[in-house]
């Protein structure tokens, strides 16, 4: 499973694992959206420490997830983005709209 989730008091913790590319992006989006719709979290903390590769599909995943969180009044925090993935996200200037560390 490319995403594992657990939630506590309307905080959703999700771990993104493995390679985030076009091949896997749909499943990741679907899983995150299902979890968001089920829990309606105030905050989604997306831990990316397990990501071994990311291309521009990851940008789409984060943008859509953020959109989903905003539509239910919550926020998205992205943690532990590895260097390669961070470079991809920064190439799209994503740090200006999504806080990632």
């Amino acid at each position: 499973m490319p995403v594992t989730c657990n939630s506590k008091e309307r905080t959703l913790q999700a771990n993104l694992i493995g390679e985030v590319d076009h091949h896997g992006a749909k499943e990741i989006m679907r899983e995150l959206e299902q979890q968001i719709d089920r829990i309606l979290p105030r905050e989604l903390i997306l831990n990316c420490s397990g990501v071994t590769f990311m291309d521009s599909s990851g940008i789409a995943v984060l943008l859509r997830t953020r959109q989903r969180m905003e539509s239910c009044g919550g926020t998205l925090r992205v943690l532990d983005v590895p260097a390669q993935a961070s470079k991809v996200l920064r190439a799209a200037n994503l740090q200006k709209i999504i806080s990632f560390e």
Binding site: H22, H23, K26, I59, V88, A91, A92
Partner: protein, 150 residues
């Protein structure tokens, strides 16, 4: 016979299935290992190959499976050249396709593929003809390394 100016070359041919995106970028990374690249350089090349092959799969063959070839060459001066070719529907307007955020793809596309290829590689050229297919050539020069083969 023309003189061969590159020092090594490999060509891989595969079907436009998304499962091959990971295979393609890993194959290029393995071939590029002979340059003793930095982790950063390998990351850049893998990302660019992933974008190029995904474009061929998503936009070259939107409605059918087709053939994609990936050629990787080692040029003098520690330069890696990657050519991704498809015989699909082609890109009507290449300049428009290269515009950041422009996409005709689905929800999982961001329109940033070309921007990433341009910023991660040193050189990018796209030739396309509607109904005939698309050829994308990109190059990256690797930093000098002590003890590297070339």
């Amino acid at each position: 016979m023309p003189t061969v100016t590159h020092t090594n070359e490999v060509t891989i041919s595969f079907l436009s299935r998304s499962a091959n995106e990971g295979f393609a970028r890993t194959a290029v990374a393995c071939f590029a290992a002979q340059l003793d690249p930095t982790l950063d350089e390998i990351g850049d090349v893998k990302t660019a190959v992933s974008e190029a092959v995904t474009n061929a799969i998503v936009h070259g063959y939107p409605n059918e499976l087709g053939k994609i070839t990936l050629r990787v060459r080692l040029l003098p001066d520690r330069t890696l050249e990657i050519t991704v070719r498809d015989w699909g529907v082609g890109i009507p307007d290449v300049d428009k396709a290269r515009t950041p955020l422009y996409t005709t793809g689905n929800e999982e596309r961001s329109g940033m593929g070309f921007t990433i290829m341009e910023s991660f590689m040193d050189h990018l050229k796209v030739r396309s003809k509607e109904g005939k297919g698309t050829t994308l050539v990109m190059r990256k020069r690797f930093s000098p390394r002590a003890g590297a083969a070339m």
